[in-house]
Amino acid sequence: MRRRLAAACIVTVAACGLAACGSSSSAGTGPDTGKKAVVFAVFNPFSGPDASFGPEQLAGCIPAATAIEAAGGILNHKQVSCKVADSRGDPADAVPAAQSLIATTGGLMGILGPSSDEASATAPLFNRSNIPMFADTGQKVFDTSKFAYFYRITAPDDAVGYAMALYAHSKGYSRAVGVFGNDISSQGTAPTSQAGFKKLGGQILLQSIPLDQSSYRTEIEQAVAFKPQVIFTEADPQTSATYLSELTQLYHLIPIVGTNGTNQPPWFKAVGGAIGQSNLAKFYGGAQPFAPTSGPAYVEWRKELAAAATKVPQPVKQWESDSYAMAAWDSINLMALAAQEAKSTNPAVFNPFILKVAKPSAGAVVVHSFPEGKQALAAGKKIQYVGAVGAITFDQYRNSPGQFEIVKSDGQTPIVTYTAQQVAAAR
């Protein structure tokens, strides 16, 4: 009987806990005179196969928030923080995670995310709660999204596929094998790398491989029989390490063209360990959205990253030229400046100003960071934010695709860059 009582207590406590958590939310409406802390949340996978997405976004968020605080905050809100919200990488887990994030985060100004794993289930949730989201999903369906609070300043997956084809073609390769893991993020680039390469006159054998097998030697025999000159690939690190090390044994290494999914420290670590870092450096090129590693915005980004060096996921060096982290940094700056200009941290009020802050207009001062922008606004000037990813040109669906680059196996050093128009040639 006593046990039963104890159980009943636990249940009651749990239920009360739930209710208490649910009731602690609020975000003001009306004129913004509050001084409460404001929060940006990283809503991305921090666990599961795509666990590397979250830290990358966080690495962009923290430097921006730190610099905003150092510049005195947004309006009267002196405290600005980044909150981690693990989406766990699938729709069924992501929906309650999103709801709890929205309900229990006071002063929530915006979201970095969602990713491809959970975007279709959760983007509507953020949208209806009037929370701006800067998504890192690559899904094509968001090319024409109707959501007023959905923004994307990185390229969709399918565009990355065309950039891969373009690069291989420019190197003079005509026979390629596409090796893509059978997971959602990897499959995003497969069809367009194939279509693009064919359009450019090449021949390609596409392999969709199950993840984390003990061996892929049979698949490799097939690939070898095709006599490829180049591999297009995206899969999780373990799968790629197994595949590529076995390829080295059975054939010989050939140039590898990866994607933003493989331009990741865990992938470089696993594959570098499997085939040797020097081989990886020699044979690897990865396509990803381009962010210039020079210019005033880049200088600002490096400065703010250095200032927050102890707070971001380690090691810091990996983020220095990471275009996704830089895009995340730009996203925070855009939202913060929009709020500053709208004189409100209420997203429903400042949302239209996000477009305004990015847009060139007559007499506008070009700014590259939040402190710069805040100063200009205080001086009564109009501003245009040009970020680390370059000028942000939103289309009617709030997409700003930008340029592409092929980077070396440090994930940063560009080999070649392509404009959106050049990539369109492979479509």
Partner: protein, 323 residues
């Protein structure tokens, strides 16, 4: 702020879904002693069927996702269809796996079938859009309140509660019917039940089909709420979450397992979201899982028969299955 209302309604719908699911699984495991380690597969199948039957033809939305069927049935037909479809799938699976095998052996076969199904759906893009899964699944009941509003959320909570109530009547009826008694007899002493002329295999198959139909219904209710479904949502370990709920709540007791559904998939899961963020990103997520593992062990240790154990029945209970 509507955030709280959205969160609370979401939790309520998830709770309803989990309750329907554990009732279904409890019919099989708690009542009949059928070890269904493929349970989540039946939930997922129901979800996919309900999704495909509401999404319209697969050329819709610019044809960006491929799937079979493709209908636009009004609510609650997709839910019913999901139940029927999962029941039919259960019939086929049951005919293969539920034959005269040791029950633990059956359990392992089910586990393999569940994983095999995940692989099949992931790799055969034409079935349910492969690894990307189905999305933009239209929400039902939008005549009552505009989709995505708090009112709609409450309507959906109501609909879920209604389905729960109907399912409870059904489950209660099965549990207390002669069939229920026969099933308990099979669970507690198969040979004796057989000697009394009960067709054990048929009884088991019967309850296997019923329980999995409920799994399908729970999947349908969930998918029409969240609007998306992918292979990542039904990995085989999810079955064990439901099993833990049953064992924690009280095997064989419909109210007990309901409490289990509140505790395990809902409270454990939601509560660990509020652990403070410490260390590097990802560390806290690992610790969350460790806590969930320890909680399950603690409950099994302190309440081996569950929080609300099954009521003792009048017939001799010498060889009762406890956990």
């Amino acid at each position: 702020m509507n955030g709280t209302a959205y969160y609370v309604t979401t939790i309520l719908v998830y709770l309803g879904v989990d309750i329907i699911a554990v009732w279904g699984l409890n019919l099989q495991y708690g009542l009949a002693g059928v070890y269904n380690f493929a349970f989540v597969m039946f939930q997922a199948f129901g979800a996919y069927i309900a999704a495909a039957l509401t999404l319209g033809p697969s050329s819709g939305n610019g044809g960006f996702q491929a799937y079979i069927l493709g209908g636009s049935l009004p609510w609650p037909l997709p839910v019913l269809a999901a139940g029927v479809a999962s029941g039919l799938l259960a019939l086929v699976v049951g005919l293969v796996a539920l034959r005269k095998l040791r029950t633990d052996y059956q359990a392992m076969v089910m586990l393999v079938i569940s994983v095999c199904a995940t692989l099949l759906v992931t790799n055969d893009i034409g079935l349910f859009n492969g690894p990307a899964g189905l999305s933009l699944i239209p929400q039902p009941l939008t005549k009552l309140a505009a989709a995505n509003t708090v009112n709609w959320q409450w309507w959906y909570v109501g609909a879920t509660a209604l389905i729960c109530a109907i399912v409870y009547l059904f489950v209660h009826r099965v549990t207390s019917s002669p069939i229920g008694r026969a099933l308990r007899a099979v669970r507690d002493n198969e040979e004796a039940a057989e000697a009394l002329g009960k067709d054990v295999t048929r009884l088991r198959l019967c309850i296997f089909v019923f329980g999995n139909a409920l799994a399908g219904i729970s999947g349908a209710v969930l998918v029409q709420f969240i609007g998306a479904w992918s292979p990542g949502s039904w990995l085989y370990v999810e079955t064990f979450v439901f099993l833990t709920a049953i064992i924690v709540g009280g095997t064989g007791n419909n109210l007990g397992v309901m409490l289990g559904a509140l505790l395990v998939p809902v409270a454990f899961n939601e509560a660990t979201r509020y652990l403070p963020q410490i260390g590097r990103p990802g560390l806290i997520d690992a610790l969350q899982w460790i806590v969930i593992g320890l909680l399950a062990l603690a409950f099994l240790w302190f309440w081996p028969r569950g929080i609300i154990p099954e009521r003792r029945r009048r017939y001799p209970a010498s060889s009762r299955a406890e956990v």
